[in-house]
Symmetry: C2
């Protein structure tokens, strides 16, 4: 199979490496002026892995999109709309399915990433998502994991699972695309909350965070028309180990650094997701206490210790 991977960050390079490893012909695209692509072209290495010589590296987007069977996109979620628009403007007739490998919701609109694809590329575009637990660092050490592939087209989902399954990654088929996208994005918010609890010396409350975090997202997903149980599967709860407990988790680390007043290079994706979820909560009149607390701390600079304790320890509740 010919696989094109668009995006040459940590996950993009991993997906290229992985698709090559399991026997596919891989093209990896990165922006012309990107330092990362320049470095890969020079050394074929980044901090995480080395790309074999038979992976084609290119900065020609048209070339990467032409004559390929599957297109994997792995860029920042907030850049997807612009990027999809750019693809549209190339005027190619693309029949290959897209797989989105990032987790996020559009800030300002709260829209899902597959919705953005349809809006920018037309209703005939086929888009799946590939989410769930796993860190590049662990995969590169041979640690296997279970992930989830989902789309609104069941035969397509099965086709993609067949193509990408290996002893390193075992796929579950996802049926509730809406729930999976929301849950996958929202786990980064819970990850920030976990990091804040760690930073505040309240790690023991991560148990309550797991129980209440899944609950509040299940309410949101149900209000959006999805299945309230989806959040308890691999896309959200199944990603808690990697997000709430791993030292590799960017969002957890962001929360910990934020609360301890340490400098951070860039906002974690979960910060944008927090805003997008608040947008959705407003639209749907749903309460999201944990998300709201993170919003109050990060955006409105409320006192973190006070906010976190209030969240878990103030009132007695029926379960």
């Amino acid at each position: 199979m010919k696989i094109s991977v668009l995006g040459c960050g940590r996950w993009g390079t991993f997906h290229a490496w992985y698709a090559n490893k399991i026997g596919h012909e891989v093209t990896l695209w990165g922006r012309n002026k990107s330092c990362r692509m320049a470095e890969l072209m020079k050394t074929r290495k980044n901090e995480y892995l080395t790309l074999p010589e038979d992976i084609i590296l290119t900065s020609d987007l048209k070339a990467a999109l032409s004559g390929t069977d599957i297109i994997i996109i792995s860029i920042s979620a907030q850049q997807l709309r612009t990027f999809a628009h750019t693809i549209h403007d190339l005027g190619l007739s693309i029949t290959a399915p897209f797989i989105l490998c990032m987790k996020g919701l559009e800030i300002g609109s709260g829209k899902r990433l597959t919705t953005i694809m349809t809006e920018e590329l037309g209703r005939e575009v086929q888009t799946a998502v590939w989410v769930g637990p796993g860190h590049v660092q662990d995969f590169m050490q041979g640690m296997p994991n279970c992930m989830i592939m989902a789309s609104s087209n069941i035969p397509l989902t099965h086709h993609l699972v067949d193509i990408f399954s290996s002893s390193l990654i075992r796929f579950y088929y996802g049926k509730d695309l809406l729930g999976i996208e929301i849950g996958a994005a929202a786990k980064n918010v819970i990850g920030i909350a976990a990091g804040m609890l760690d930073g505040a010396g309240l790690s023991s409350l991560k148990g309550a965070l797991m129980a209440r975090g899944t609950h509040e997202l299940s309410v949101l997903i149900k209000a959006m028309g999805g299945n309230k149980m989806t959040v308890y599967g691999l896309s959200h709860l199944g990603d808690y180990e990697a997000t709430l407990f791993s030292l590799h988790s960017n969002n957890r680390r962001f929360g910990e650094d934020f609360i301890q007043g340490k400098p951070f290079i860039k906002l974690a994706e979960g910060v944008y997701t927090t805003e997008a979820l608040m947008e959705l909560a407003g639209q749907l009149h749903v309460e999201l206490p944990i998300t709201h607390t993170i919003y109050e701390i990060v955006k409105n600079k409320k006192n973190p210790q006070e906010q976190l304790k209030q969240l878990f320890l103030r009132s007695t509740k029926v379960e």
Copy 2:
């Protein structure tokens, strides 16, 4: 309020310390010949805490049970039937409610601990359970947590929550006693599985373990007539941080040591719970893949690496 705590192990002494701290008159009972009680009477200390002088220490069970308002039991789950029988044989007329603070199911019968209380002490006995996350070590350092109080008598549950709430422990009211007891006991089985994954270098699969572990117990609880959602609350999922990730967790440690062939002093409670759950699964014709795998490894000496990988990585599943 007069509170008697029966059992002077790690949790029993903590409950005595805690009830005293929040202003109650406390009596702590331990067996006459128990080394722990002898040590406490001599030094008022154990490895975790120091008991204030105003806590009465006794080995006289009749005295501990007389003229008290609430009786907390914190002994090994497998000893409860014999212990309750001993209490019955004292021939006292006890009207004070009991609170059980341990997590387990009776091996051989799969029976819940509140059922054992009723069978041994009569239908008029009032029994609540106090479960959920928290480690004595963390509480003693002032780390707060959320826990859960449940009984089949709602006013009693509220009464007990009022008595035991503090800024250190915030209670949720539990409504589904059956689901709470099964979930609280079963989290120790998932804890052993987590330890085995840690010991096998497969910690990344703890995400999938959380998603699948909650699922299999929700199926069991539903088959038993409980609420399938209870398992996603504090009694089970909310206890995963303390059980699957904490270094203080005995069950996690047991799983890790077992798989690495290290000696262990005694079986973790989760081993008994595994047997009890297999008993229930057989009675109710429910499949419990994770519990079954732990059973195969611990009781039938099957190859752990093979069994664990087979559990998570063999077949592709719909979620």
